[in-house]
Amino acid sequence: MSRTKPYSRTIPHPLFERLIVEDAMNEEKDSWKPERLHEYGYFPGCVDFMDVEVKFTHLNKGDADHASIAAASIKLLNYADIDPLILDMNIFKCSGHDQLWQGQLEVFDALKEHNMRRLKESGVKIITCSCAECYRTFAVDYDLPGTLGIKVEHITQTLQGRGLKFKAPENVKVAYHDPCRLGRMMGEYEAPRDLIQLVDGATMVELENNKERALCCGVSSMMYCNDATKAVRRKRLDQGTDAGIDLMLGGCPKCYMHMQCMLNEERMNPDEGHHHDYEMMDLMQFLVACLEEKN
């Protein structure tokens, strides 16, 4: 098959991937300097690109809103008295996780080079990500602690142990879905669970497969979405129904995106007989909904 587009075979969201590749190939040579120095930098990832694509493909017939994960994270960081530098997409580029895992190494290298240069210019000491994939990419593939001496944290680790208090508006039974990048790859299972324990009124249950044995959302690094990967996702969602939960919480925007997509698809085609009577949300969105006003 002849191919004229320089994009690899990324099926689930070709436009989303295309935008990131276009962005990567636009070389920016100008230097940049933040207005003042911050200790923390917050990296939102590609949530806005997801939003643009998902809105256009009618996949947000529910109310999927990925940008609210970034907004929620900023709000929670402020609540924990952290003033982060927002490493937004106007200055930075996608971390390149998907491109690396799909084998588009030249795209990944272009993204990495740009981001490393910008991180050096930003002068942050600690970088925190609300996305498990960005977290893994920065910590392992960029090796930021080794090369630039920047500590990389997932936002749950940043918020952990800061004496935060949350109160759920009503009693709710939640389960935490371990993202593969945060759990199996980076070995972080406790920080998100500790945060959920802080929420007054939320009961946490474990799904049948949890922690290192957690099931995948099925579309790891946006490689492919077909009947087989959907079966993996449905199995995971069925475990939620078995546990009788009201909300499934994830630590990665991609988990939220894929699970919510499947829930929406099921609700769009009720004749097919699959139904899960709960919602998927990102942990940050849930925590913001349970935020108590500071006195």
Partner: protein, 271 residues
């Protein structure tokens, strides 16, 4: 009058214009008495490619939310019985004819017309004779109505709660403007290189189609179906399903070509 008049360009008269960002916005009304100007209760239809019947618009903002290229803005229209503000198509030339706004409007006040069709005299004649426009609406309505009611009946109350908390203060955005403008550029580039309009239809090359269903999601007219093939019909790719374009409802909008990751869809002239 419950929805926008589909033939307004021939049955209505041009009564005034209003300043848009790039080009003036045309205002249409049945006759000069049916238009009273901003601040009265007679507003007529605004816009040509992106036409909104301001007498029907209830200002729920669905079109503003749906538009991927930011065509709409709010305009204050005091003293109007339906609502005191309206969605105005300030950046009408930016419209990429995706018809997302047309689909989401709860009161059917929006009508998108392909610029290629404007001014051609047979548009109206064709609508009257063969009723293609009505056919599209009939095919589409059950699907849309079901999906919409389903989702708006059961919104995620937790997400709504989260958004309420987030709306209390202004938080920095993280690059939505850049994402939107890049998306717009990409769409424009694709549009410029493709023939489109009612004389064209999309065609799938089964050898190339990998059954990823992206085109199905992009199509606004429910005119793409996935059909299963027996195993012998499989190509070298993994999927046994292929996209099938339904000729009757395909409007030649090129969205599926834009979506296809393997360039399996092309625009062909209708025979």
């Amino acid at each position: 009058m419950t929805e926008i008049d589909k033939n307004f360009m021939t049955t209505y008269a041009k009564v005034a214009t209003y300043d848009g960002d790039d080009e003036p916005i045309q205002i249409w009304a049945k006759d000069s008495d049916s238009y009273g100007g901003v601040g009265t209760d007679k507003l007529g239809i605004w816009g040509s490619v992106v036409a909104v019947d301001f007498d029907i618009c209830v200002a729920d903002g669905a079109c503003i939310e749906a538009c991927p290229v930011d065509v709409y803005d709010w305009i204050d229209t005091p003293n109007h019985p339906a609502s005191d503000k309206k969605a105005i198509m300030t950046r009408e030339p930016d419209c990429i004819i995706c018809r997302a706004c047309e689909e989401v409007c709860p009161v059917t006040a929006v009508l998108i017309t392909d610029p290629a069709d404007i001014g051609s005299t047979d548009v109206v004649a064709e609508v009257n004779e063969d009723k293609p426009a009505e056919a599209i609406v009939e095919m589409q309505t059950p699907v849309v109505a079901e999906a919409t009611s389903l989702f708006f009946k059961k919104p995620n109350k937790w997400l709504i709660a989260a958004k309420e908390v987030l709306a209390k203060e202004e938080l920095p955005t993280t690059g939505i403007e850049k994402a939107k403008s890049m998306f717009k550029d990409l769409r424009k580039k694709t549009l410029d290189s493709l023939p489109r309009g009612k004389n064209y239809q999309a065609l799938v090359d089964n050898e190339k189609c990998i059954g990823c269903t992206q085109c199905v999601y992009f199509c606004n007219f429910a005119s793409i179906d996935m059909i299963s093939w027996d195993l012998k019909a499989r190509t070298s790719q993994f999927e046994s399903k292929k996209a099938l374009i339904l000729e009757d409802t395909c409007t030649g909008c090129t969205l599926c070509v834009f979506a296809c990751p393997v360039e399996a869809i092309t625009m062909e002239a209708r025979v």
